[in-house]
């Protein structure tokens, strides 16, 4: 029996957490937003979620087969990307004639941003965000369309998203705050409900998948900046992609710092760029650009905010 003993490097016990359990937790945290998107936007939202996840899963599987590497679909990260991408699209993508564009987005996210750079852990920017920005360039009309929820009375609704109203200086058209907090307003299917995303964010923090540093510093910075410039902070923090961006996208492990200090710096950076674009830029939404920019700055932030080694002497 002696030669059957396993010899391996220490430690001999490991934490129960695995890559797939982390991704499963993220999916669970996205569930409230996904569910509400179907409630608010109906079958179209369901179709978007389905097509996006199917495309991401199949593309990743295909890539693994093609390059003869181990199938990485079971780590579930492709479905996190698929769900995030779906949730940032307006409901008109769910029309039959537009479904193919989602596949284009999935291709950009999974193949170009993720696999071309070496797969999970090596992407320089968040795949879902980069795909979203690419889609904004490729399909500007679809992406910027104002799609109201099924619950909205079309006669009372304004012709734009809340952020669009603010940017256009038509604050009197803003919907009721409480209605808006729960998601009854125009926007991308999974971005409208700050409530559902907040529930998801709390799941992520409570299960220690992420820490509070990035979302809190991100949202607080946007809040403070818009408060000081008098641009409706109470609407700014619940509108557009801020909640989903702050909790689910800016916290992407690969493209954000890992120390507490680094995360706060990163979050403040995201918040500042978002607020600057929203308040002074020509475009009502700034979250995706802000995160992408900070993703690119991430290596430098990591370098500057590295922990000092305990008892280390300066060299």
């Amino acid at each position: 029996m002696n030669n059957l003993l396993t010899v391996s490097p220490s430690p001999h016990i490991r934490s129960p957490r695995t890559t797939s359990s982390i991704m499963a937790t993220v999916l669970l945290a996205l569930f409230p937003a996904a569910l509400l998107s179907v409630v608010l936007f109906g079958f179209k939202a369901f179709l978007i979620l389905l097509v996006s996840n199917l495309a991401c899963g199949l593309l990743e599987y295909g890539w693994c087969r093609l390059t003869k590497i181990k199938n990485t679909v079971p780590d579930l990260s492709c479905f996190v990307t698929g769900t995030l991408l779906a949730l940032t699209l307006p409901a008109n993508f769910g029309e039959w004639k537009n479904l193919w564009t989602i596949v284009v987005g999935a291709f950009i996210a999974i193949i170009i941003v993720k696999e071309f750079f070496g797969g999970i852990g090596y992407n320089f920017a968040n795949p879902a965000i980069t795909a979203r920005i690419a889609m904004l360039v490729c399909f500007p009309d679809l992406m910027t369309a104002t799609v109201h929820t099924n619950l909205t009375n079309p006669e009372l609704a304004s012709g734009a998203t809340p952020l669009g109203d603010i940017a256009a200086g038509k604050a009197e058209l803003l919907p009721d705050w409480v209605q808006m907090f729960f998601g009854n307003h125009a926007g991308a299917i999974g971005e409208v409900s700050a409530f559902a995303l907040l529930v998801g964010g709390i799941i992520l923090i409570a299960s220690k998948v992420i820490t509070w540093h990035i979302p809190v510093s991100f949202i607080a910075t946007v809040g403070l900046f818009t408060l000081m410039t008098g641009t409706y902070p109470e609407y700014q923090i619940i509108a557009g992609g801020l909640m989903i961006g702050a909790f689910f996208m800016a916290t992407d492990y690969v493209t954000s710092p890992d120390t507490a200090l680094g995360k706060v710096v990163f979050g403040i950076g995201c918040g500042l760029i978002t607020a600057l674009i929203r308040v002074y830029g020509g475009y009502p939404e700034g979250v995706s650009f802000a995160i992408l920019l900070m993703n690119i700055l991430n290596p430098y932030i990591i370098k500057l905010t590295r922990k000092k080694a305990f008892g280390g002497i300066k060299i």
Binding site: L4, T6, S10, P11, S15, T18, T19, G121, D258
Partner: protein, 437 residues
Amino acid sequence: MPLFNLPGVFLPHKKGTAKIAPVAIPTPQSVLIPLSMHIGAPATPVVKTGDLVTVGQVIAEAGGFVSAKIHSSVSGKVKNTDTTILSNGRKVSAILIESDGLDTLCETLAPREVNNLEELVQAVKDSGIVGLGGAGFPTAVKLNVKSVEDIVINGAECEPYITSDTRTMIDRGDDIRYGIEILNKCLKPQRIIFGIEKNKPECIENITNLTSDIENVSVAPLKAMYPQGGEKVLVYHTTGKTIMEGKLPIDAGVIVINCTTLAEIASFIRTGMPLVKKCITIDGGAVAEPKNVIAPIGTRITDLIAFAGGTKSAPKKVILGGPMMGWSVESMEMPVMKNTNAVLFFNEQEATVPEPTACIKCGNCVNACPFGLDPKAFVQALRAGDDEALVKLKANICMECGCCSFACPAKRQLVHTNKIAKAKVMKILKERQEAKK
């Protein structure tokens, strides 16, 4: 105590054997005593094949300044003085002694008179005692200092399963008390701080009562967080002092002694019996009756397990030491050594090594590391062949505690890569120092 604790990881305690008083195992038919059970030069044998030896008789002398004496743990006949065994990847010689089953004591064993440091150091040298917490640093070398501010006694026992120090703190109060008195007499420290994790309230209470009338002794209850018993971590959490890179505790005016080491020193001074037996925790999913045993040094693992009711299922991994820093042995013929405090027998499920997957840059390793190191960056620097980056990342500070590997969701063998990185940096730093001279 410091304002902030160093990071670490919370582990399952699994200290089911804490409540069971240790039992002595019957003397095995033969023992295999390695000549290198400590840090430093191996000991030199002073017996030859065919010699008759008794319990406590010197069988090997210290092989240098940093080394330790070795005594026979049984009475009987020396069969061989250079059996080769593989000890944690190194080949070391060992002395094989066949027991006569009588356990005849060596005649020259006698209590010691210890009144000053010189006598203490000599006594510890003669006792063959090394750091019993794990590292095995010869204790006499550690104690031989001009002056010391603080003595920290390590009763943290932060590794899961192991309860042999717990038993020392519960069962050997007299020895501990006597040891503390000796330390006070010979080393005259300002403070003696006893660090114990809070998951051992019985030990905290016992030691507190035991030392309440000694003015400079205090008990520091520590958060039950691994690696609380790591030397630098313990010193920081008990005294607030930071041991700098490449330095020893004494450079910060501190000596750290494991509680069982202290008890052994006291017992040697009181009885003259050197370190020939060890309390060892036997546990793990494959063990029928987990318990603490007192076994002669050199007892083979096969003989130990027989005494713990044998196995419930075939052991698939056998670990000498704790699950975080212990090492998995190739063969059950391996003997237990002076610094062995546990032998763990893992069943199939516990022994399964998870398949490493790609690093997802989650930063768990960074945030688990007590010293604020970045093991994932070591890997990147190693892959890029960037030695300068490794030096800057301070891979040399790594104590191989395993928190990073434990916390890694991708199940990467970070301690393994840390060791490679550490060895590289140590070499570079040494070369630089020599170039300076």
